[in-house]
């Protein structure tokens, strides 16, 4: 192995290990903290031994916190990775999972589900997923054709579809009354409170292959940054790579949004932060975003649970409250 290839491996391993440790640490904190505190050794005993001996404590860890922490990690990983991929594909630093309007479609589907009085899971999740898929097909249909997936066409059609979805959402909100309005607003702000282990398992089954597929394409994302002509002349099938990454990422985002609602800024903050710390190589950034994005979302969800004196707030509020100032700081720092 060359010094460079081995240094790439070393860097990839070090970054991944550090972020994995961080993720494990914040997941442990997420399991330990809540309305009732739990000792770390009790968590260990409950998860990996025969239980703590306290049925209530085991139930809190297994049925409430464990699925929620796992869901937060998966959601953060998917949103962060989605941002990274869209920023590379569109060569736009402001691109994130929601820029193509996929979240708008999911939101319409979810609101329709809530208005129809469907259960949160699987009813609202399924309608949200269906909404995002319709939007995805619509965007690909608009922006493709003879010049398959031209990045500006993709960006513009995404912005337009998103604007249309926002109008439909406002219309649906204006005709909705009673407690369904509260449910809609809570979902729109991003919420992980309705997590169940079987749904988290299903999400993981869909997301993990997406993470692996994107990692396989990570070096091609490096080449796409040189421009499509240069990448093509180096043997990269640009159209195919773009389309595959677009479909994988959109699927990843739509299933994620259908589970947790709209959570912003994760896809902006984590890729930019990691780029600043680890450089531009996507072979390092892809695993970094999966682990770092997961850790960030677990922390935000933990804060959303423990900060309010009573009840909890949507996780999307915390990701935006931390993410927006952090992004401005990163922007100023990169300009300097």
């Amino acid at each position: 192995m060359t010094p460079r290839a081995s240094s790439l491996f070393v860097k990839m391993t070090v970054v991944s290990l550090v972020l994995l440790l961080l993720l494990v640490a914040v997941m442990a904190a997420g399991l330990a903290m809540g309305s009732s505190g739990t000792r770390l050794d009790s968590i260990w005993t409950s998860l990996f031994a025969n239980g703590t001996g306290h049925a209530m404590e085991d139930a809190i860890i297994w049925r409430i916190r464990f699925p929620r922490v796992l869901l937060a990690a998966l959601v953060g990983a998917a949103l962060s990775l989605g941002g990274l991929v869209f920023q590379a594909l569109l060569k736009n630093p402001l691109a994130e999972p929601y820029i193509l309007g996929i979240s708008g479609g999911a939101a319409i589907g979810a609101i329709i589900g809530i208005i129809l009085g469907l259960s949160r899971i699987p009813g609202v999740s399924l309608t949200a997923f269906a909404g995002s898929l319709v939007t995805l097909v619509l965007i690909i249909f608009i922006s493709s054709g003879r010049a398959v997936v031209v990045k500006d066409a993709l960006l513009l059609s995404g912005v337009m579809v998103n604007a249309f979805c926002t109008a439909v959402i406002m219309f649906l909100l204006s005709i909705t009354q009673d407690n369904r309005l509260h449910n809609i607003i809570f979902w729109l702000m991003g919420d992980l409170s309705a997590s169940q282990i079987q749904h988290v398992g299903m999400l993981a089954v869909i997301l993990l292959p997406c993470f692996i597929a994107i990692f396989i394409y990570s070096n091609r994302m490096n080449l796409l940054l040189l421009g499509s002509d240069m990448a093509t002349s180096m043997g990269v099938p640009v159209r195919r790579v773009t389309l595959v990454l677009l479909v994988i990422t959109s699927l990843m985002i739509s299933v994620t949004v259908s589970q947790c609602g709209l959570i912003g800024f994760v896809g902006l903050v984590i890729p930019h932060l990691l780029r600043l710390l680890c450089g531009p190589d996507h072979r390092i950034l892809v695993p970094g975003c999966v682990l770092g994005g997961g850790a960030y979302m677990v922390v935000c969800d933990l804060l959303a649970r423990v900060l309010p004196p009573q009840g909890e707030m949507p996780g999307g509020v915390i990701t935006a409250m931390i993410g927006a100032p952090l992004f401005i700081f990163l922007l100023r720092r990169s300009k300097g």
Binding site: L8, N222, L223, L226, D229, M230, T232, G235
Partner: protein, 268 residues
């Protein structure tokens, strides 16, 4: 001499707009072939078509006597390198990282390079005189240095044919000469065929083995500079007055532009 690339009755069109019309010519191996012509004459379209980046309307492009469309993209990338006109000033990569990307056609999907790849990249960087800048980010280099880095990336592909779209555009005189000297050395030292687009006819006259003059997508002239650098041909092609004389700097022709005001030309 056997051709490096052969073009037969090539037609290219953007939707409802024909750009290249009925072009037939060939570029010999180890030749420095420069495409000149007025704005909008189809130079960039032609070089992109030669690189396999555009679908052609009709005709054929043969590389090593095999149609370009029968090559797999990766095989083509191992034979033909392309340096685009656009300047990627905001690239986040260092010179070495970007040059090593030229090895992509020879590497696996994750692009993990071998010791040999690293050595090839080091030689390409040294050949273009950028060894002292290998660790610098592209965005921190001058236009001329960046252009040489892109050429080093193309060299790293180990191509038999290198295509460059206006590599000297927007460069100062010193960098223009350095780039053209580099092309000359690639031709003589490595036997690489070089096809490039240039707006600078004097520079083209100094270095080209042959010139192709495009006007409205058609071949107006093709041959050695002594045939193409002709007052009548060029003034018709560019629709302006000019004089051609021998350059005092060497054995090549020189094009002198004339002002539109005849009295001013007479005075000077």
């Amino acid at each position: 001499m056997s051709p490096a690339i052969r073009i037969h009755r090539l037609h290219c069109a953007y939707p409802q707009t024909p750009v290249l019309r009925d072009l037939t010519f060939q570029v010999d191996r180890g030749e420095l072939f420069i495409i000149i012509g007025p704005n909008g004459s189809g130079k960039t379209t032609l070089i992109k078509a030669l690189a396999g980046l555009l679908s052609i309307s009709s005709g054929e492009i043969f590389f090593k006597e095999r149609s370009l469309k029968h090559y797999k993209q990766k095989d083509l990338a191992r034979n033909i390198a392309y340096v685009a006109q656009a300047d990627i000033a905001d690239s986040p990569f260092t010179v070495q990282e970007m040059v090593l990307m030229g090895r992509t056609p020879y590497l696996g999907i994750l692009g993990l390079d071998s010791r040999a790849d690293l050595e090839i990249a080091r030689q390409a960087i040294a050949f273009t005189g950028l060894s002292h800048l290998a660790g610098r980010r592209l965005s921190s280099l001058s236009g001329g240095e960046r252009q040489r880095a892109y050429i080093a990336r193309a060299i790293c592909q180990h191509p038999e044919l290198i295509l460059l779209d206006e590599p000297t555009a927007a460069l100062d005189l010193s960098h223009q000469i350095r780039i053209m000297d580099l092309m000359e050395r690639m031709k003589t030292a490595q036997g690489t065929s070089v096809v490039m687009v240039s707006h600078d006819i004097n520079l083209a006259a100094m270095y080209a083995d042959r010139l192709l003059l495009l006007v409205d997508g058609r071949m107006a002239a093709c041959g050695p500079p002594s045939q193409v650098i002709d007052e009548r041909i060029l003034s018709q092609a560019y629709d302006c007055g000019l004089l051609v004389d021998s350059s005092p700097a060497g054995p090549w022709l020189r094009v002198n532009l004339m002002r539109n005001d005849p009295e001013q030309n007479a005075e000077t």
